[in-house]
């Protein structure tokens, strides 16, 4: 398993840079991972990250529709927060595995 040093902390990641152990995640690490993706985190970002981490911990599938129905942000807003590939980027910053869902 690969490891990566982010903000002075060693974390387990896979070859694409996704955390393999969500328990190692902290908000400080999220700031650094987000920077690598060119994103400056705001409260709105954190709310989405918390939502995704919560869903992941319950074993629920991560779909873009669920984010849109979360009440935090609509889908257009989600694309705005994590431009390009929102689900993948958000999962990476949230310290959870790459989403395995097709929707």
């Amino acid at each position: 398993m690969a490891q990566k040093i982010i903000a002075g902390v060693t974390v387990d990641v896979n070859e694409e840079g996704y955390f393999t152990n969500p328990a190692q995640w902290t908000k400080d690490l999220a700031v650094e991972v987000a920077k690598e993706e060119g994103i400056q985190l705001t409260d709105k970002h954190y709310a989405v990250l918390d939502f995704l981490r919560d869903r992941h911990s319950k074993g629920e599938a991560l779909t873009i529709r669920s984010v849109g129905n979360s009440g935090i942000v609509d889908i257009k807003g989600f694309y705005g927060l994590f431009p390009g590939a929102p689900m993948k980027k958000a999962a990476k910053v949230a310290g959870i595995p790459k989403p395995a869902s097709c929707v």
Binding site: A61, T63, I64, R65, K76, A85, M87, C102, V103
Partner: protein
Amino acid sequence: MAKEEFPLKKVCLICAKGTIEDVYAALVMSNGAVMEGIETKIFFTFFGLDAITKKTMNSLHTGTVGNPAMRMPGGLPFPTLLGLLPGVEAGVSAMMRSQMDKLDIPPVKEFLEMIEAGGGEIYACKLAMDMFKLKKEDLWEGVKDVLTVGQFYEMCGGLQTQIIFT
């Protein structure tokens, strides 16, 4: 997975059929592309227009006749003759839609809205509209334009672009 040297930049999808499975194949592929940050355009033509016509878009059906892959719940083959009975096609279609909803696959209109929210573009075929006597007002408001085949091809140029016919 090895990193692709020339990743896809643009996909152009053509949806020419109006059954649930044909339309959803196009929508899932399109939404998936948008979510990957790939520029996405969908061209609806012939019976595929049902998916972007206000009156029909949320009540698409699947064909229950002449589909050898069709199964009863439980896995037994679905007799074609059963598919001929009144109401069966509607029932099967409703069942399919409810199964999809459980997997967080949205109804057609919502799915199109998701694609549009991510920057995907939706177009209708002019020739097919003339054939079915449809007007722009009959179409879902999110349809960006009504195009000829030539106009659609003009949008499909560029390296790392693929045209997909579903």
